[in-house]
């Protein structure tokens, strides 16, 4: 509200409104993050009786020369590059499918969305079973049946070539429903008359999709892409439970390395340094993404 600024009470009211959240964010996110930043320059180890001491950039040097961490960064990037587009495309396809007129839309929407309500730790457990190696595994069995026996059963989660893709599949399975719901809502917000205008103007279904649907979904698409990108840099639970980052770091991620350093090895300062590097990376990517999307469309 544009009510008078100056001495007006609204200024104070605003701070009151902001205060609880601000206190929470400061105490539980900002302060620990600054603490992490500080810790990253020390030699602090979990529970160590030695004085932490100033370590300079040692932790950063160590993190950046740790092949597992670097692999984690690369894996995260690969993960984002694959999962974001695939999941978005799938979500869009499902949304389009559900945006048609037919009986039972509600049911199917619920079914497709259901994986989203599953905690990742549980999803991971289910998929470990589905990925079971040997011909007895469900996925192996299915692929075998589909390819009429041409498929050689694999141990997906312990195969350097398959571990990361397997985790991607799991994540896509779990996350697509969210994309779908957002995009479905976006689809329903596109004025019907635009489709009608395009039809009258001579556009067939494909061109209507290209010229009306896609542009109309711009903002929801931006939203899901940004959220999915942020989330795909946070991948952890699946990795921890399904592959522990292996084999040969083939499926490790940054957060997984952070957690291993901090919790399994007690190297909290190293973990803090990794977190800081990671934060800078993700923030950079997010800002870049926002800027690109914004400029491209003019109004976002």
């Amino acid at each position: 509200m544009n009510a008078p600024l100056g001495k007006h009470p609204e200024h104070r009211v605003a701070w009151w409104f902001m205060a609880p959240a601000l206190a929470g964010l400061t105490a539980f996110i900002l302060a620990p993050f600054l603490l992490a930043l500080g810790m990253s320059f020390t030699g602090l180890r979990l529970g160590s009786p030695l004085p932490a001491g100033f370590a300079g950039l040692e932790n950063y040097r160590e993190a950046l020369s740790d092949p597992a961490f670097l692999r984690g960064v690369a894996n995260n990037a690969l993960f984002a590059l694959v999962v974001v587009p695939v999941q978005t495309a799938l979500g869009l396809a499902l949304a389009l499918l559900l945006n048609q007129q037919f009986q039972g839309r509600w049911l199917f929407r619920t079914l497709f969305f259901m994986p989203v309500v599953f905690p990742l730790s549980l999803v991971a457990v289910i998929w470990i079973i589905l990925f079971a190696p040997g011909p007895d595994g469900l996925l192996n069995g299915l692929l075998n049946a589909v390819t009429l026996g041409a498929w050689t059963p694999r141990d997906f989660l312990n195969d350097p070539a398959w571990a990361l893709p397997a985790i991607m599949v799991t994540s896509i399975w779990q996350g697509t429903g969210f994309q779908m719901v957002v995009l479905l809502a976006g689809l329903q917000a596109i004025p019907r008359s635009l489709y009608e205008a395009a039809a009258v103007d001579g556009a067939g279904p494909w061109r209507r999709f290209w010229h009306v649907t896609l542009p109309g979904l711009r903002n929801p698409l931006i939203f899901v892409v940004i959220v999915t990108t942020i989330l795909s840099f946070r991948v952890f639970d699946q990795v921890r439970i399904m592959t522990q980052g292996g084999p040969q770091d083939a499926s490790t991620t940054v957060i997984h390395e952070v957690v291993r350093a901090a919790f399994d090895r007690g190297q909290v300062a190293l973990a803090a340094a990794m977190s800081v590097v990671f934060f800078v990376l993700v923030l950079g990517i997010t800002l870049l993404q926002r800027r690109m999307m914004r400029q491209e469309g003019g109004t976002a």
Binding site: G47, S48, G246, Q248
Partner: protein
Amino acid sequence: VPIPEDEATEVITVWAHAGRESERRTLEAQVRAFEKANPGLAVDVTFIPEGSYNGQVQAAALAGRLPDLLELDGPYLAAYAWRGWLAPLDEHLPDTLKDDLLPSLLEQGQWRGQWYGMGMFDSGLGLWADRHALKAVEARIPDGPADAWTLEELQEILARLASSSSGGPVLDLKLNYGTEWFTYAFSPLLQSAGAGVMGEDDEPQARSHLDAPASVQVLETVQGWFQAGWVDPNLDDAAFTSGRVPLAWGGHWNAPAYRDALGEDLILLPLPRAGDRLVSGQGSWQWALSSRARHPEQAAKLLAFLLETEQVLKMSRANGAVPATLTAIAASEDYGPEGALRLFAEQLRDGYTRPRPRTPAYPVVTDAFARAFRDIRHGAPVADTLEAAARRIDREVEANHGYPAN
């Protein structure tokens, strides 16, 4: 668990791992018995799932909220002790107890000359086998620890087994187990070969141990088994029980299920030796007194109670592990002189076992070793992998200035 709340009682707080049902029941019963025998003392036991036990204890320790008495996983003892979370037990326990204790437990419970941990039982590691299958390939069946197979012998047997089973897997290495298994189960092979994960107290480093040629050679051999397709992934933990493989790298805890599955055909063999002498695994849950304990005397009293022969036997019966005292072993059905599992007891008693590296760096050590082992499993070059792991471990040791006493 209701705790009697009258003012005269002192409450001893205890954390224990929530093992199997029977184990939990037994401990609870023992605690009640202790309370009955010691009016005015109450015990408050919290069971914590094994999966999250270490994390929880560390978190509580950092927060200064450890209980009086707690269980911990043997190899972590040094780490906890160095951080000052534990109080030495020497002054609280009678020396007579030591005399009766398994030497493995004595070794495991001590660090830098002080006694921190005391187990009610120890673990046994060995090879389970199907008598028929071995007979079919005319394998030699060792009598005891002293005449264990050599690594080459095992390899040959595996090859024979494999060819008789048309190339399928023949060995279960319990690949479905968690991180700690790999250090526990396979570092003894390195030690047997004359190397090991780390040097002893006077040489606390991994370099020239973990990456020593002997270590490399042993693990290259094991890697060969993977590459030959002899090892079952064992996702369902049923590789041996379902008869898929005739040989399983395992321990005392497998006994009940394996007996059920194979009955008379089940035989227990020592691990292979990679060098002159067999080295097997040891170490299990131990009791320790927190340095912040508010009732150390009473807690020690409880501990002493738990180590009474009767109690040790009860626990051993509940979880199937090797009883902690020689007296109890002698009285045990399974581990006694004629017991089917006596091999486990012999190994522990006769010095065929060595503890995992007793260093405050252990969390890093086991992480590095397990990771290396898993990479080797998937074909990573053994020498490089081990060298990298050794470097990782040593960096940690150096960063802590070799863990000076404080």
